[in-house]
């Protein structure tokens, strides 16, 4: 059964088309990853699913019901973890979760039990009387999640839930996502961190310019670019590097730089390694190492969209 179905959905802001005739389905029990650079349309899509924005065209169904017509039903079954922290600094952790869970019709002992359960789930049970202004960034993120899950939604949307936190808190959140999924929640997950998406998502959609340009498991996505390979060239400095000039070497599909590494995605059928090395040496770039890697999701994304996930 599909928990979420999006059919030919379009969203315009004046003349700008943010989401362009998008369709997709998310089955029960999936952790579905949304990948897209800034402005690709993923936040708009998420906001339409959560009911924050109305679509100009198309239908969004949650648990088989049109969310526009059955708004209350859709919202009752949905939990939203917004990208920005959405908590009240002047209320304790317990009060925050209780207030938001209370909006879903929960009352009395049932409400209390679910609030306590949600705080335990995110590891904040000992801090239930504390105000968020005494929390670390990671703890606030966890409280942000607790506020979205206390009412036990069937579908949870997590928009960049690990932005700006320490690795320990990130691991805690990623494990929580997996645990929620094991408990039966279907999750839509967006992140700028490719490795997170690769680690936890069972299926991924790559969005660019308001359209889904690829969709499937990570293996399926990687298979889309089997005719390419990744060259990782470690250099002393990439200051004089002319990316455009490398892109013009025959067989080069995409080029990106990550600290001291130049990542070149190249056609396996073209032997261009000599030309690439020659170009770097001629431009005074000192090569310290070279290795060939199988393409990862980042390569897939770069190849399909022509830009990095973190590009503005």
């Amino acid at each position: 059964m599909n928990v979420l179905e999006i059919k030919n959905v379009t969203k315009k802001f004046a003349d700008f088309i943010a989401v362009d005739n998008m369709s997709l389905a998310v089955a029960e029990g999936e952790i579905f990853g949304f990948l897209g650079a800034n402005g690709a349309g993923k936040s708009t899509t998420i906001n339409m699913i959560a009911g924050l924005l109305r679509c100009n065209d198309g239908i969004i169904s949650i648990l088989g019901k049109n969310s526009a017509k059955h708004s209350r039903f859709a919202k009752m079954n949905l939990g939203m973890v917004p990208q920005d922290l959405a908590i009240y600094e002047d209320m304790t952790a317990y009060e925050n979760v209780k207030f938001f869970a209370g909006l879903y019709g929960l009352r009395g002992a049932e409400l209390h039990d679910l609030v306590v359960e949600a705080l335990e789930f995110v590891g904040l049970q000992d801090k239930h009387k504390s105000y968020p202004n005494s929390f670390s960034g990671g703890m606030k993120r966890r409280l942000n999640i607790a506020c979205a899950i206390a009412h036990r939604p069937k579908l949870i949307i997590m928009d960049e839930p690990t932005v700006g936190i320490d690795p320990q808190s990130r691991n805690y959140i990623l494990n929580s996502v997996k645990k929620l999924n094991e408990m039966g929640c279907t999750i839509i997950y967006t992140s700028h961190y490719m490795e997170e998406v690769e680690e936890i998502c069972s299926r991924i959609a790559i969005i660019d310019h308001g359209k889904i340009i690829a969709e499937g498991t990570k293996e399926q996505l990687k298979s889309l670019i089997t005719n390419t390979k990744d060259l990782w060239i470690e250099v002393k400095s990439s200051e004089n590097l002319n990316i455009q000039a490398i892109k013009e070497i025959p067989g080069v599909e995409a080029v990106s730089i990550e600290e001291y590494f130049i990542k070149i995605n190249s056609d396996t059928g073209v032997n261009n390694l000599n030309k690439i090395i020659e170009h770097l040496i001629n431009n005074g770039i000192e090569i310290r190492g070279l290795q060939e890697k199988a393409p990862n999701l980042e390569t897939v994304f770069l190849t399909l969209t022509g830009r990095n996930l973190r590009d503005q």
Binding site: A50, R54, K75, M76, E89, M91, F99, F100, L103
Partner: protein
């Protein structure tokens, strides 16, 4: 139920906010104390007058004026007979004496200095009283001289001036006045926190979470307004109680009606805050606009100093301040039992609230999200 949930959350957080509490409770009480004490002289109903020094010249043979002098000296008037070397009129001109009385067979002449009209008026009143009595005595002498003694000894009357106030105890003292005007001013200041009722949800991003929950926008809106109404209403009750118990401010015998009028002002203030927040684009602009509006309304509404009988354009400006109507209505309820004054104040508050809330509701319906 969601409405109550949202309202209760609003009340709780507002009373937890120390800054709001200081502003809505401590600030008005302190202001009442400062202004009520510092400007108490402005509100006194009695006027202290020093002793009166009068020169006189009596050329009559009978001693009625001497009797008048004896009686008047008991009231703090000092008479000195003018000598031939002294010109009484010049002495009054030089303000050495407050008045100069010439009593001759032809009548009484009084000279007073216009520079001190109060003392002059008192003197004039007393001398007129004396002349009236003298005239009556002359008439009695002409018709029935044997009755003269009886006429003046029965119910002996030595008061030459008797002042009777039309409304002796129905005037607000300074603390009574400032209790009213500071309370109405602080209620209007309630527009400031009200302007961020919805905006703060957007700024904190909690608006998205509220909209993602199964709650209608109207429920959020009503819950917010209700919460603000209750917390502001409670603050008004506390300010009234404090001023009544601490400063013995007079809130009259119809406290329920006074509170009802104040409650409509609370509704107006909240509507003003919300309305302006929907009319402006930035989140800081409403605060600036409201601050200017409240300051001007307070100034022209008499919150800082009493404005008596304004005229012309100034009168028009004072009438534009909602506080003028409020203060007038409450003062009339307390000091004149005049309930009719309540109607314009309540009408202005409720009609204004309706229009401002209408603007907010239309804007809210049009926009996506909160």
């Amino acid at each position: 139920m969601n409405i109550l949930n949202i309202a209760w959350k609003g009340i709780k957080t507002e009373f937890r906010d120390i800054k709001t509490l200081i502003f809505l409770l401590a600030f008005p009480i302190l202001l009442m104390l400062v202004l009520g004490t510092a400007l108490s002289n402005t509100f006194t109903t009695s006027l202290p007058v020093d002793d009166l020094h009068v020169l006189y010249k009596d050329t009559t043979q009978e001693g009625s004026f001497q009797q008048f002098i004896k009686a008047a000296e008991k009231s703090g008037m000092h008479f000195k007979k003018v000598t031939d070397q002294v010109d009484g009129k010049k002495e009054v001109k030089r303000s050495t004496f407050d008045g100069y009385v010439e009593v001759t067979e032809n009548g009484v002449q009084l000279y007073v200095n216009d520079d001190n009209s109060i003392k002059g008026s008192i003197l004039q009143g007393m001398v007129s009283g004396y002349v009236d009595k003298y005239n009556i005595a002359s008439e009695i002498m002409k018709t029935a001289p044997d009755k003269l003694n009886a006429a003046f000894t029965a119910g002996e009357q030595r008061d030459f001036i008797k002042e009777t106030s039309l409304n002796p105890n129905k005037q607000p003292g300074s603390m009574d006045y400032y209790a009213i005007v500071i309370t109405t001013m602080i209620v209007l200041y309630g527009a400031l926190p009200a302007s961020s009722l919805i905006v703060s949800e957007r700024v904190r991003r909690t608006a998205d979470r509220l909209i993602a929950a199964p709650v209608r926008k109207s429920e959020i809106f009503i819950g917010k307004v209700l919460g603000s109404l209750v917390s502001n209403g409670l603050c008004v009750i506390l300010v009234i109680l404090f001023s009544k118990l601490l400063f013995k401010a007079n809130w009259g015998d119809h406290l329920g009606l006074v509170f009802l009028v104040l409650l409509t002002e609370v509704v107006f203030a909240i509507s003003l805050g919300i309305g302006i927040s929907f009319l402006t684009k930035s989140s800081a602009a409403p605060q600036v606009i409201i601050m200017i509006m409240v300051q001007l309304s307070s100034f022209f509404g008499g919150a800082y100093f009493k404005i008596d009988n304004p005229e012309g354009i100034f009168k028009l400006i004072t009438e534009l301040s909602p506080l003028t109507w409020m203060n007038e209505a409450i003062t009339k309820i307390i000091y004149a039992n005049d309930f009719a004054a309540v109607i314009p104040a309540i009408s202005i508050n409720l009609i204004g609230s309706f229009l401002l809330l209408l603007v907010a509701i239309i804007s809210l319906q049009r926009r996506e999200g909160l």
